[in-house]
Subunit: 321 residues, 2 copies
């Protein structure tokens, strides 16, 4: 089944919300569903839609995969609880790091995360809860890129011919699958989510694992998490489409206190884009670039060098992995 | 023996030239010497000094190590022949690539190049020529960085306690060892070298091997050579202290013709500096950065991503290896 895009100019958010709430109700019937909330705009919008449709028959989970940004689980859970929506935290760091051990290839990394998320973690949750449905925030660009073979999005399953019912024991409901990011932001706003969610820059499903070149280890996640925090602090006010820090595997020569320091390199990417299909590096001022480099080399242990990505998409891509 | 700096403000180029010509004559006596010309400002100045001192008792060699920039050997040899100085080309590509095989660590790379250059290549030349002296363009910054343990300069030997006479069979004469780059440029100009030499941006002794992260192979040299040519074409008019292209070992996700292209990344560095002790990234315009990225991803096969280094030295260094 080919999914058709519902364009921003054709979107009536109120109508869309009513329609999707109805669809979710109809699909789940008098059963129950589980929902994976990551805190991004997509999964947050889905959480609101499903909550409206199912109320207490919906159980929301936030999966702590060990790959999240600094303070993320606590922040998102308390934000939703403030709106009366209960979210359970599932600690699964070890399972993800075990699955990622020794993997270098980006696609294999994404595949390991998908397998752990849907099979290991959600398979267990769904089995134990008796639910037959998993809701998630797959969007139109995810599908397009996965089907085109550019980058495997961790949440795209059925479009690749994966029978989730057979493989994982549940069916997947994807209410946002016809929308690109700008349309989803409009729906999220209409759903009453705060600006810090509906305006939030995109963040990939496999989280900081997509920001690490080479094997993903807890130590490397710690490094890229610290750099990400700085990049987000410095670039949030710029108004770019997306911005991120990448930790490279390559080591480079540096110098500290007059002596050689063979260390790590962080790459900063900051994108202007409408829909992630094409993107250009944001023309950040050199004062901002200086400050990023100074803070990252000064505050993140082991990092001696910082670069800024200057290539457009295509032939570059927004994330490195 | 500790070398003392002769500062730019204390330099009288004419006096310095006379003094060094005299010293070289005295040291070599009625013997002969060989000279390693790389085409950089340092070795070019030494060639002129030694030529004045020794005339036909000096033999000049340009070592083709397979790591040079595009068209370099031909260009330098013909430039010096135009000034009446004969230079012999020694083809040693295979010896250098064999010595570099499987080496990842920057210091081991530099060490392999040093060994090949002084032991294998020049050891043989000196033995066959009967000369007892090798002239070379070591400068004050080379010594400082090597002695401090920041970066092993391939031409620093005696200051590290290496007895070249015992190890390689000749003594090393280093007329520029008290000068930093700006002083050497002034001497080079006073020696009658053309601006394309005395104003030439610094280029490291181990050549493009210092611009490759990971193992140095002929294929990688070809890639970084093509990127270097573009960087030099685009940045020569900027007036920066130094500019270069680095080929990374890390592969990154790209996209071409709508499909995934897992490819290579080039890092561009362009420095403002007076003496290479400290340096800041040049504030290139985004029009220049765009053009660099477009040309490199468009013209260099395999490259899908380009970055610009934004960290200062320290804690970064000018070269990556």
């Amino acid at each position: 089944m080919k999914t058709e895009e519902l364009r921003l100019e054709d979107l009536d958010p109120e109508w869309f919300i009513e329609e999707k709430v109805r669809e979710i109700s109809r699909t789940v019937g008098d059963g129950s569903a589980v929902n994976a909330l990551s805190g991004g705009v997509d999964s947050s919008a889905v959480t609101m839609l499903a909550h409206r449709a199912l109320g207490r028959r919906l159980r929301n989970y936030f999966i702590e995969n060990g790959l999240m940004r600094d303070g993320e689980p606590e922040r998102i859970i308390s934000l939703f609880e403030g709106m009366g929506i209960k979210v359970e935290l599932v600690r699964a760091e070890e399972r993800f790091f075990n699955a990622l051990k020794s993997i270098i290839d980006p696609e294999e990394k994404r595949e390991a995360i998908t397998r752990t998320f849907y099979g290991d973690v959600f398979g267990k949750i769904v089995r134990e809860s008796g639910a037959r449905f998993l809701l998630q925030g797959t969007n139109f660009t995810d599908i397009e890129e996965t089907v085109a073979g550019i980058k495997r999005q961790h949440n795209v399953l059925e479009q690749l011919g994966i029978d989730t019912e057979e493989r994982y024991g549940y069916r997947v409901i994807e209410p946002l699958v016809q929308l690109r990011k700008p349309a989803i932001r409009r729906v999220a706003k209409a759903l009453g989510l705060p600006a810090e969610i509906y305006d939030r820059p995109p963040f990939p499903g496999p989280a900081l694992a997509t920001r690490i070149v080479g094997e993903v280890t807890p130590a490397k996640v710690q490094t890229v998490r610290a750099a990400t925090k700085i990049v987000e602090e410095e670039l949030t006010s710029v108004g770019a489409f997306q911005f991120l820090a990448v930790l490279h595997e390559d080591k480079v020569t540096g110098v500290r206190a007059g002596r050689r320091d063979y260390g790590q390199q962080i790459e900063v990417r900051c994108w202007d884009s409408a829909d992630a299909k094409t993107a250009s590096p944001t023309r950040l001022t050199y004062d901002i670039l200086d400050r990023l480099a100074e803070r990252i080399t000064g505050e993140v242990p082991g990092v001696v060098s910082v670069t800024y990505n200057i290539a457009k998409k295509p032939p570059s891509t927004i994330e490195v992995v």
